[in-house]
Every structure is written in C-alpha cells, then in structure tokens.
Symmetry: C2
Subunit: 151 residues, 2 copies
DNA sequence: GATAAATCCTACTCTCTCGGTAGGAATATG
DNA sequence: CATATTCCTACCGAGAGAGTAGGATTTATC
C-alpha cells in the first residue's frame, strides 16, 4: 500500500471542504463529525494542508478552514504529494536529485521509473472537482462499467 | 512506497535466473553474491517464489534454482503480487471480495480503483523478458529520452 | 559410505513508521 | 469574560519491514 490514511483522510477533508465551502469557514469538528474520523488525528493532517498553502484558516469562534482555490485547480497528485511526502512505488526512485548508487547498471530501474510515471500521470490528470462531481469516466476510464463506451 | 525490498529482490532474483539459467541450476549463494544481497534474506524470498510455482529447485550438491517457464511468460505483475501479497495503493480497495463498508457512498473510491487499475495494467504489460532485454520503450514509454519518438 | 554443498524449515530480533492521543496556548466572537 | 475555535509540542502502542541464527534434510561426488 502506497497511500496511508494520512493522505486518504487529507483527500477526504479536501472533498468535504469543497462541498461545504461555499458558506464560509468550516470547523474541524464539523468535518470530523460528518466523516466520522478522529478530530485529533484530523487536526494533525489538516495542519499539513494548511501549511502547504492548500487552505485558508481562521482562528477563534466561528473560525475554521476553507479551500484556498477553486476545486478544479487542485490535482490529486499535489494533495497526496504534500501529505505523503512521496508517492514513489519504491525507494530506489530518485528523490530530490539523490539516486541509488547502482542506478547506472540496474536493469529494473526503468521499470520502477516507468511505474512511477504512470502513477504520477494518472494523479495529475484528476482534479478535486472530478471527485466531487463524480466523474467516473475520468477516474475509471475503460474500467467504468456504468460509463457509455461509445463516447 | 508500495513495493518493499521483498518484491524488489524477488524481481532481481528472477532477472538473475533468467540471465544465467541456460546452464542449469543456479545456487542461492551464487545469486546472493552477484547481486550483493544477504543470502539468508534472499533464502526467505526465493522460498516464496519457489512455493508459488515460479521456479524449479534441486536440493543437494550442485543443486539450485531455475525458472519454471520462459522469461517472456512471466509478467511483472504476477511476480510482485506473489511476493507482496497485494499491490493495491490503498487498503480500501476490495480484496478477495471484501470491501469497505462505506464503499457505496465513498466519493474517493473510484479514484483509488482507477489508480489500482492503472498500476495493474502497467505491470501486466511488462514481462521478465522485457527487463532482461532492456526494453526501455515499453517500460518508460513517452518518458524514455533515449527512445526514438518517431517510431 | 563419508563428506561437502546445497535447499528447506522454524524461530527470533531490532528498528521504524503508522495511526493515533493528550494537554494546553493563542486567538477571535459576542 | 466566556466560549469556540485553531495552533503547537510531546508522547505512545502495535505491527510491519528487514533481516539473523541455527539446524535438518537431501543429493552429488570422491
């Protein structure tokens, strides 16, 4: 498993905010309750999103969080990358310019690099808006049983 | 990270066997030495491959392992699936018919399902032979800088 | 038949990350 | 001032990942 609860919950929070966000700030307790998740744990996750510039926050009474941009301007890739740190399928993928010492002669590296690219490409192609509108065709592609194959 | 050292080493072993396998059985110590990996750890990994029917083995002096089939008849997907157990990017993907209780109303599930399919599809499309022949075009696709884009 | 070289099998250990919890300080509203 | 909220730091238990250890069993060769 590549994506932990941290990344999954972060995405859930973003989706929740996108849905409720029109009416101003949404409190953490509100999100935790409607998604039925631990408020304390969500707190640590939302802090990452907030520091990463994904949200606007307001302290004090009636405070809370809201999206900093329009849902269509968030890719799933950037949300998960921020919370997970990396989405690389293996740790031998070059990270921040540092690569495995055996890279030059490793015959399996192109496979991992290719897999990494396939994942990144997919996640960059989907936005928060796609999720809240339930764009199954874009997410599931040819595997979508309820989508019209003719289109 | 989705693929642990277990899966990576397993693949390395398979590649090594594919390269040396023409001359009969290859011993574990031989593989461990040429790949510079712990023999004891490899032992536990190769046991999985062997029990999974991927290899033929011969005990005793001059014994060892060899591939059970032709390299082109192994997909990377099956090798990794056997050693890793699952390649699902999140644990909310249905496994063996058991799915998350919130599945029916979960708006992010199609995303995870789509990601899972993209990964599976990629890994099913690559064979052991592609790795030993260094088929960069197939592995890296459009991201292959040394491949001729015109082809 | 003894010996050496191999696979096979079971159990153990150490470390790190995941998934949370706890408690309180700062800040805004009414 | 009371209350509701975000913000910050520290802590903790369980389980998985990454190996280690030791020996039992099997087979080829001398």
């Amino acid at each position: 498993m590549m994506v932990s609860t941290k990344g999954r919950y972060a995405l859930t929070v973003m989706v929740d905010l996108a849905r409720k966000g029109e009416n101003g700030y949404v409190s953490l307790s509100d999100i935790a309750e409607s998604e039925n998740l631990s408020m304390k744990y969500l707190e640590s996750i939302i802090a990452i999103l907030n520091k990463g510039g994904m949200l606007k926050s307001l302290r004090g009474k009636n405070g809370g969080y809201m999206l900093a941009r329009d849902p269509k301007d968030y890719t799933i890739n950037e949300i998960l990358l921020l919370t997970e740190g990396t989405l690389a399928p293996v740790n031998c993928i070059m990270q921040e310019g540092v690569q495995c010492e055996k890279a030059a002669t490793c015959s399996t590296l192109p496979l991992w690099a290719g897999l990494d690219k396939v994942i990144e490409n997919y996640l960059k192609g989907i936005t928060l808006e796609d999720i809240i509108t339930g764009n199954r065709k874009k997410m599931l592609g040819e595997y979508c049983e309820s989508c019209d194959p003719a289109e």
